[in-house]
């Protein structure tokens, strides 16, 4: 029943998208139809997936018609249901926001709104398709539709050259990842009658060597989508290029499809050895650290948020790594804590990153500016956006009482317990998560203080933020809703863990959630409640003390200097400098500085560009080497027809000999 409802939801999504495409040039109508389809479909899907998750069971269905190679088999189990909840929740919020966001685009004379709306709905439906597919071929088909739909959205503003470039890199990176996935499914298929997951599972786990190869292919193929370092290079270009509600959807849930694929593959690969867990922990630590460091170095708001997606995928990988380590040593609690933390972080990151990208979109729409150092003082002009963005910032920094803290707490708890309980290298790998996640968390706090402070606090640095106006209700409501959900999951971790527990149990292969966690979750609630209560109490105390006492406004202290201008405020670049300085060798920074000279300096300027080490030092040289090899192959291509005819002849002869040889056997 729930599965059928999800399929109906996909139909509603597709119908909305199709209607928008037909409405085409009548932009307002197209936007309304598409949004209605997206919201209705997502709401229906959310209810159905939620009901299925609550029931805890698994269902599957197969269509009568079989496409070549595969079958149209779909299903819902706790893992799928959980990811569906995340997809539909973030999609519904993004769709409402998109209606408001794209209206401004229409009013500015924008075009092709129908295609953008249709692609949005198609993207949501394709993600749901990836999650419910129970057949390798169907899975890959949905995967490709997802990639293409998102590519259409990334290149929506293709009048900018940078957007074209981002779209191309995105497409190439995605297709390279898919090559690994094709290989993966071809290897998994060995010994099974078809590509259906049930058949693959029935054939039993592959031999250890083959399983390791499959695991490596899954890490590459799914890691390229998820944004694991160093396969993330497409992400910081593609996500900011898309319209903001699409960035929210892509960063919030689409990259998590990589995590879903990895977990789904793990279910087929049998019990993991210790080194898988250690490897995923290592990937998570590097991705997390690289993501947050590069985020700190960014000057563009949306690009910064995109790098934070890499950081958060790294945190999710740390959780998955803990889960694998626990599983490999048969420790149910460690496995559960790791997987539950990773899955909860998937949902949490969907909520707060969606919220933050929407906030960035609101700032972009109100000011037309993405450069951090041109903003400032928006909290007074856009109070609702500022409050929601603050909630998102505290949440993404992993601080109580918001939801980011709960998922990071689960991962930390798994790391502490794993370090103490797991024998040998597994314990050491689990313990290594503790300082890695601590450093990532500390840097994330620095980064989000920087973002929130530079964009929303202080005084406007240029005219644009000084003239900004709060965005419309269609954009404010989804942000406030997301912030409220962040708070709810943060103060009620019992609910949050309840949502992820069935899926975590499925991945960890546990019949029941390990006992003994309830007390800690209740205690986290108590900490959140105590925090809120003490703040409320202090607010009352302060109000009581200040009653009938003066609280005048006065200029802030500037050491007696009176010629202060807004441009003298600390910028994002200067804020991040002391944090980044010790990491100098890891960053690829080029600085063009015109230093003030003589006693009466006339001009001075400072320009800084941070390149991505993975892209510029690792992937680009590797690509050049590959191209070099291919260039050598060009010797075959002489442009003479006789030579090509000779190639044909040789090929035919070889094939003929081969056939004769086969027949002779």
């Amino acid at each position: 029943m729930n599965l059928q409802l999800v399929l109906v939801a996909l139909g509603v999504l597709a119908a909305g998208g199709f209607a928008a495409l037909v409405a085409g040039r009548r932009g307002r109508l197209a936007l309304a139809l598409g949004t209605a389809g997206a919201v209705a479909g997502s709401a229906l899907g959310l209810v159905a997936a939620g009901a299925q998750l609550a029931s805890g069971g698994a269902v599957a269905a197969r269509a009568g018609w079989r496409p070549p190679l595969g079958s149209l088999t779909v299903g819902l189990d706790p893992l799928s249901s959980f990811f569906l909840v995340a997809v539909f929740l973030v999609a519904a919020l993004a769709a409402v926001y998109g209606a408001g966001y794209l209206r401004a685009h229409l009013e500015a004379g924008g075009r092709r709104i129908g295609a953008a709306v249709a692609a949005f709905n198609l993207l949501v439906a394709a993600m749901a398709g990836v999650v419910i597919a129970r057949d390798g071929v169907l899975f890959l088909a949905a995967w490709e539709v997802m990639t293409i739909a998102s590519w259409v959205l990334v290149t929506f503003e293709d009048e900018h050259e940078s957007v074209q470039r981002a779209g191309l890199i995105y497409l190439v990176a995605s297709q390279l990842g898919v090559v690994a996935l094709f290989l993966l499914f071809a290897l998994l298929r060995r010994g099974a009658p078809g590509f259906e997951f049930a058949q693959l599972a029935a054939a039993g786990p592959p031999a250890p060597g083959l399983a390791a190869v499959c695991f490596g292919l899954a890490l590459v193929g799914f890691g390229a989508k998820a944004g694991f370092w160093p396969l993330h290079v497409w992400l910081p270009d593609a996500h900011p290029a898309a319209p903001s509600h699409v960035s929210a959807l892509m960063s919030g849930v689409m990259i998590k499809m990589g995590i879903y694929g990895l977990l789904r593959t793990l279910l087929l690969l049998g019990p993991p050895p210790v080194w898988w867990g250690a490897l995923v922990v290592g990937i998570g630590a590097v991705s997390g650290l690289a993501g947050v460091l590069y985020a700190l170095a960014q000057h563009d708001l949306k690009r910064l948020l995109a790098y934070h997606s890499i950081e958060n995928v790294g945190i999710i990988a740390l959780g998955v790594g803990i889960g694998l380590l626990g599983q490999s040593r048969g420790d149910a609690m460690v496995a559960f804590l790791g997987y539950a933390g990773a899955l909860l972080h998937v949902l949490n990151h969907g909520l707060f990153k969606g919220l933050l990208f929407q906030g960035a979109g609101a700032v972009l729409q109100a000011t037309g500016v993405r450069a951090l150092d041109a903003l400032g003082g928006l909290a007074r002009r856009m109070p609702v956006t500022a409050l929601a963005f603050l909630a998102g910032s505290v949440a993404i920094a992993g601080l109580p009482p918001l939801n980011g803290f709960v998922s990071e707490w689960l991962i930390f708890a798994g790391a502490f317990r794993g370090g103490a309980a797991l024998a040998g290298g597994a314990g050491l790998a689990a313990a290594a998560v503790v300082p890695a996640l601590a450093l990532i968390g500390g840097l994330a706090v620095a980064c989000f203080v920087k973002v929130y402070g530079v964009v929303f606090l202080g005084t406007p640095r240029t005219g644009a933020p000084g003239r900004a106006r709060e965005v419309g209700a269609a954009m404010r409501v989804p942000m406030v809703l997301a912030a409220a959900l962040c708070l709810l999951l943060g103060v009620l971790p019992v609910v949050a863990v309840g949502v992820v527990a069935p899926a975590a149990r499925e991945v960890a292969g546990l019949a029941a959630a390990p006992a003994g966690l309830g007390g800690s979750l209740a205690a986290v609630t108590a900490v959140g409640a105590a925090l809120v209560a003490v703040v409320a109490l202090l607010v009352l105390v302060r109000a009581g003390l200040l009653r009938r006492r003066p609280a005048p406004a006065a200029p802030v202290w500037a050491c007696g200097y009176v010629g202060v201008t807004p441009r003298m405020q600390y910028t994002a670049a200067s804020f991040a400098e002391p944090v980044l300085a010790p990491f100098g060798p890891l960053m690829h920074r080029t600085v063009h500085a015109l230093r003030p000279a003589t006693f009466f300096p006339a001009a001075a300027s400072y320009e800084e560009h941070v390149g991505d080490v993975a892209g510029e030092r690792l992937l680009a040289p590797a690509a050049r080497r590959v191209l070099g090899v291919f260039a050598r192959l060009r010797i075959l291509q002489q442009g003479r027809i006789q030579l090509y005819l000779a190639y044909v002849l040789i090929t035919l002869l070889v094939l003929l000999t081969w056939q004769i040889g086969l027949a002779g056997r």
């Binding site: 505290v394 103490a420 706090v445 203080v449």
Partner: protein, 307 residues
């Protein structure tokens, strides 16, 4: 926890911290050959500030006022997670060390945000340095917590102290001494003391923590100063429990804690009076070095077999 134990915990947490700060200042003054302010001076300062009006920085938002409030609330709740007079803590649980560290970060987040709200470049500078030092302190703090918790097989402080060898712990278990050294560095960093920062400096350009709260006045400043005292007290309580046997619960525990707190405060004063402050670019190396020391400790735990 029984009601009297909770009451004793609250009394200690709410009333003792300014005294500890007073001891540190006094010892520092002695080393400099001065008589120093009375031990109870911090209480007088707080009373005076609470009786005043406040000044709102021009152009600031509610975040400016929220900085001191959230900063104080965060360390107070953190204080509810840490065992004080031995035994358990009112809100302690298996996993409280993580919440403890996150609460310290939360307080820092809002203090820095309030500083940036003023739009003053001095305050921005302070927030930037605090952000850097905070980020580099975090791994050290967590590694110390791991060093304390791994042998106890629980991420809860009460359980960790219960599993600690009886008596003067570090004699039986030298890794506790290592943890204590790193924890002391973390304490100095978290509380903006020499050699990381200087709470007594009068030059804005060299300030880190102080410059972030320059524009707060009256009750807001009182909240800031009280929050600093509570933070010192709470982290020092960790150090005391790590090194000394604190009898669980009751007056004996309270006396042992206060004696230990006084010793830690004295040590802070001695460091302040005898060591010069590090140059700013050297601080990250100092903090990361401390974290590396703790990492070595954790590695030794594993090298000796099961932690």
């Amino acid at each position: 926890m029984s009601a009297p134990a909770v009451a004793l915990h609250l009394v200690l947490l709410l009333l003792a911290p300014p005294l500890v700060l007073g001891i540190a200042v006094k010892v520092k003054a002695w080393l400099a050959g001065r008589r120093g302010a009375p031990l109870l001076q911090p209480y007088h300062d707080l009373r005076k500030l609470l009786g005043k009006g406040t000044v709102r920085g021009e152009g600031t938002t509610w975040v400016f006022a929220a900085g001191p409030l959230v900063g104080l609330a965060a360390v107070l709740v953190a204080g509810l997670l840490v065992p004080l007079a031995g035994g358990a803590a009112p809100l302690g649980f298996a996993g409280d060390v993580i919440a403890f560290a996150a609460l310290l970060s939360l307080g820092r987040f809002f203090t820095m945000a309030a500083a940036l709200d003023t739009g003053s470049s001095f305050e921005g500078m302070g927030a930037s340095r605090e952000a850097a030092f905070g980020a580099f302190t975090e791994p050290g703090l967590f590694l110390v917590l791991a060093l304390i918790c791994l042998p106890a097989r629980s991420a809860g402080l009460a359980q960790a102290w219960a599993a600690r060898p009886a008596g003067v712990a570090w004699l039986a278990h030298p890794l506790y001494l290592l943890a204590a050294v790193v924890l002391f560095v973390v304490l100095l960093a978290e509380n903006a003391r020499i050699p990381i920062d200087d709470p007594a400096t009068h030059l804005e350009l060299t300030m880190v923590h102080e410059v972030m709260v320059l524009d707060h006045g009256g009750p807001d400043l009182a909240f800031v100063l009280y929050g600093e005292a509570v933070k010192l007290f709470v982290i020092a309580a960790l150090l005391v429990h790590l090194l000394l046997p604190v009898p669980p619960g009751g007056w004996a525990g309270a006396v042992a804690l206060l004696a230990g707190e006084a010793a830690v405060a004295g040590l802070v004063g001695v460091v302040e009076g005898s060591v010069a402050r590090l140059r700013l670019p050297r601080v990250p190396g100092f903090l990361i070095g401390a974290a590396a020391l703790a990492a070595v400790g954790v590695a030794v735990l594993f090298a000796r077999g099961r932690p």
